[in-house]
């Protein structure tokens, strides 16, 4: 089977659009017949990525490849980058501004949630150039 490929552009600073990519991915996985639990996990991980792109990355791109054996997701932005990835991975650590916190975000759970809901997570980040997060979820 040819992998199903999906691409989404995420606009920066627009919280009303965040959730479109994850919603569409969830729908696609459900239609293919993946389990409700896997579908939910992938959707949550992608949503956290979308929100991070809006808060920190000034928008970005999401590419997904789906096969029966592996769901592969690449979240890429051209934002300011992450100076200390280990610190950013700690639950509760957040650099989100106050206006974002008032919307209910910025709890410092984004990256830890992405890790929690995926099988593989690789973060590549360069300060001043951007961040790419590569995720894999194995259905079996």
């Amino acid at each position: 089977m040819e992998p199903l490929k999906l691409h989404f552009d995420v606009s920066g600073s627009d919280f009303t659009c965040a959730g479109e990519a994850s919603g569409n991915i969830k729908k696609a996985l459900k239609e293919i017949g993946f389990s409700a639990a896997l579908t939910r996990n992938v959707a949550i991980a992608v949503y956290e990525g979308e929100i991070n792109m809006v808060i920190h990355g000034g928008g970005g791109q999401i590419d997904v490849e789906i096969t029966p054996e592996c769901i592969s997701i690449v979240l890429a932005d051209q934002g300011p980058g992450i100076p200390d990835i280990a610190l950013a991975m700690q639950e509760g650590y957040s650099t989100a501004p106050e206006n974002v916190r008032q919307l209910g975000f910025g709890a410092g759970m984004g990256l830890p949630n992405i890790k929690k809901y995926t099988d593989e997570m690789i973060i590549e980040s360069e300060v001043g150039k951007g961040t790419t997060i590569r995720l894999k979820v194995f259905p079996q």
Binding site: F15, G19, R40, L103, G104, F105, A107, M109, P112, K116
Partner: protein
């Protein structure tokens, strides 16, 4: 128990999505206002008690398979959030009670 039955038992008021309420089964309850925290901790089928009535709450409810949102303390549902909820079939109810008071009542029902 369905969302419709919960609403009738607790005297809650619909803000939107009532046509889907009779079909939505409730399994447990979660209280919280930090969206990532809720996404990470709430279980599928949970009733979600919150004061966050913005458009991102709708996204969280859909992605986390929440059975319904109950906005406590008469907190406001934004117009764009209501439109998104209607589009996505999310049931939203409201109450004057706070999350603690309502959760205590829900725990006796489910």
């Amino acid at each position: 128990m369905t969302v419709e039955q919960l609403k009738n038992n607790l005297g809650l008021t619909y803000l939107c999505g009532e046509s889907a309420a009779a079909e939505k089964e409730i399994e447990g309850c979660y209280c919280g206002d930090l969206l990532s925290w809720v996404m990470s901790r709430a279980e599928p089928g949970n009733v979600w008690l919150t004061v966050m009535g913005n458009i991102n709450s709708i996204g969280v409810a859909v992605l986390a398979d929440i059975s319904c949102i109950i906005l406590t303390e008469n907190s406001v549902l934004d117009a764009d959030a209501k439109a998104r909820a209607q589009e996505q079939g999310v049931v939203i109810l409201t109450t004057a009670e706070n999350s603690y008071q309502l959760a205590a009542k829900i725990s006796k029902l489910i």
